[in-house]
Symmetry: C2
């Protein structure tokens, strides 16, 4: 095992990538969403790393989390000096856990997002104006259907693996339930098979924060000032749930910002306040408030256990050949390890081949995004085994 | 021990109580706050239950939590039928943990509050208008000083006990540090000796939510519509932190509100959403947004460990005769048991007599407010011991 680990150290950069667009579902061939609404045409922004093998059997789909995008690794050609690489650059690249010398890695911005794929801020072809609140409510299953359409377009009918964390992990599981025959290996990370009341509660507070901002204007703000204050508070709520008590103590404790004593006012006193305000105000420049509303709703709807047929649930995976590596983090209290164990149990109950690893980390839910060789080693070793089998 | 427990079952009602007002600190004799600001006159609303003994040695001060008030037990004379009793009615009354046949129980609305005591919504005598943002920033120590003035007024120079949960527990600890010779027994419940980064983070998000509401108007809203939307979101944030993952699962799970299926819209789908919205909208009719801002700040400033002399810290309790009963709850993640243990350690380090009890409860921080015979039994038994010693 140690030898396997050693071969998956983070060694190279995934290099540059380019955002590409794929459009499908022109009327009358729109996508019928789980709600019954029809949506189309749909554009999906995606990026790829590595080369598709002649046998077309080395594709890995990376599913991003709620506020992520298609830029999972490497740099853009026109990145300014000092730009940060993609959000999972520590995992994707030559010699890394998702080894781009061997895999063809694909990551697409999710439906409902705001980084190139069709979402509430996109132009509604029927009106020539942004969808806003006319964007239909969607589900994790709908997101998966758009990814399936993209793979069809790329000529990929089998995936070596689907991997993703948090809301990305939900997509992984939904893939397995919808297209088990297409997925050789699934790696759900820091996620759950059914969104808990606590997670719904935090999402609902975030949504209410946006909706309380008068600039939200029932979702019609694309011609005016956007609801930045409400969105910033929503992001601050999210950020607290991504961290852990321990991480906050270590990172900030009760340290004061810029002064010797507390200020006895409502300006920032503590570093943790400054951090949260910064996270909130940074976020509003890159994310759309309506996207947050729709994507959190999709996550809240996610439940692989109780589903009305004909929707497939986790029980319908009986007999699937997909191999699972389930990963959780010790200090993640948004999608805690006990929920990962419930997932493992449910998968084993229907006879699947499941490996499970809880990674010791004190940084909360965010741990899956923080560069850590252990994740790369686990993923690389697991995929080696899958290839050999 | 079991016999002691049996004698403290919840047996009687505390009967009716009446809100009384005490005013002190007329200029030029204002109270000098910890910040250096001067405030006066100050009115404190308080209620009492039971009779002060001729020896004046049976007084128990109950300190309320952030959104509480002086109405800790019993009913008001003019309560409509079906009205709820005070917030700690399960603990206060004849034969209960705080036995009003034996104790004289006092509870005062805290400084900065909005239930009769001077706070940001009170009239500033200098302007004839509500203080609003001119209300001075205050600390837990300042709250204790107003309680001390009330006790002086009532002719009470020694307390059988001070007891309180959450922010009330901070007041208990501050009492011990400021007036150790006055406090025979201290019962800090579900609290901490220094507000953690996580707790500060949640308070800061709640504050930002209020300040993001344009109706807040920098605290000047008493002549106009108050910032109810921002305050409701702030309350929702608080409510999530008062519960636990387990309690939310048990109480709500993923149960839907009023329907067979999800609604694919932004109306309430899940019961937990309905519950939070209800908590938020109920709160705005009884609480002042500025009070929330000032009281959360006082909690955030609370740190009994690192203080600049001459302010007294927990180390200055060396040699005090006060006996402690520290109580925490297993599922409280806002003020977790490890923080109670740190408190116990710090008290023992300076040689104090400390009992500690962690109560098994799955309902989170709120546990201390939920009627539970165990709390009454612990408190009653502890006070029996204190009386005997």
């Amino acid at each position: 095992m140690n030898q396997t680990i050693e071969t998956h150290l983070q060694v190279g950069s995934a290099g540059t990538s380019e955002k590409k667009l794929f459009t499908f579902g022109e009327p009358p061939g729109e996508l019928t969403l789980e709600s019954g609404a029809r949506l189309g045409p749909i554009t999906i922004a995606y990026e790829t790393w590595g080369e598709l093998s002649p046998a077309r059997d080395n594709a890995v789909l990376v599913a991003h989390a709620f506020s992520g995008d298609s830029h999972a690794a490497g740099y853009y050609k026109d990145d300014p000096p000092g730009a940060k690489p993609g959000w999972w650059d520590s995992l994707i690249g030559p010699g890394k856990g998702l080894d781009t010398d061997r895999c063809f890695v694909i990551c697409a911005n999710i439906l409902g997002g705001c980084s190139g794929s069709t979402g509430p801020s996109s132009i509604n072809p029927r009106t020539g104006r942004p969808y806003g609140p006319d964007f239909p409510m969607m589900t994790i299953g709908d997101i998966v259907e758009t990814q399936k359409a993209l793979l069809d377009h790329l000529g990929i009918s089998s995936l070596l693996a689907v991997i993703g964390g948090s809301v990305g992990g939900m997509q992984v599981l939904e893939w397995c339930v919808r297209y088990p025959e297409m997925v050789r290996a699934a790696i759900p990370v820091a996620t759950t098979m059914r969104h808990s009341a606590l997670a719904i509660a935090f999402n609902e507070v975030a949504r209410q924060s946006i909706m309380a901002d008068p600039l939200w204007n029932r979702g019609n703000y694309y011609d005016s000032e956007p609801p930045h204050l409400g969105l910033a508070v929503a992001r601050m709520i999210g950020h607290v749930t991504y961290l852990s008590d321990e991480a906050l103590r270590r990172k900030f404790g009760r340290r004061l910002q810029d002064r010797e004593r507390v200020g006895y006012g409502f300006d920032v006193d503590f570093q943790v306040e400054s951090y949260l305000r910064h996270q909130g105000s940074k976020f509003v420049h890159r994310f759309d408030a309506n996207s947050l509303l729709y994507i959190t709703k999709a996550a809240d709807y996610f439940d692989l256990v109780e589903r009305r047929p004909p929707a497939r649930s986790i029980r319908d995976l009986t007999g699937a050949a997909t191999r699972f590596l389930v990963i959780s983090y010790t200090s993640d209290w948004l999608y805690p390890t006990y929920q990962a164990r419930e997932l493992v149990k449910a998968l084993k109950r229907v006879g699947l081949n499941v490996s499970f690893c809880e990674i010791e980390a004190d940084c909360g839910h965010d741990a899956f995004l923080i560069p850590d060789k252990r994740l790369g080693s686990l993923v690389g070793g697991f995929l080696d085994n899958v290839r050999r089998s």
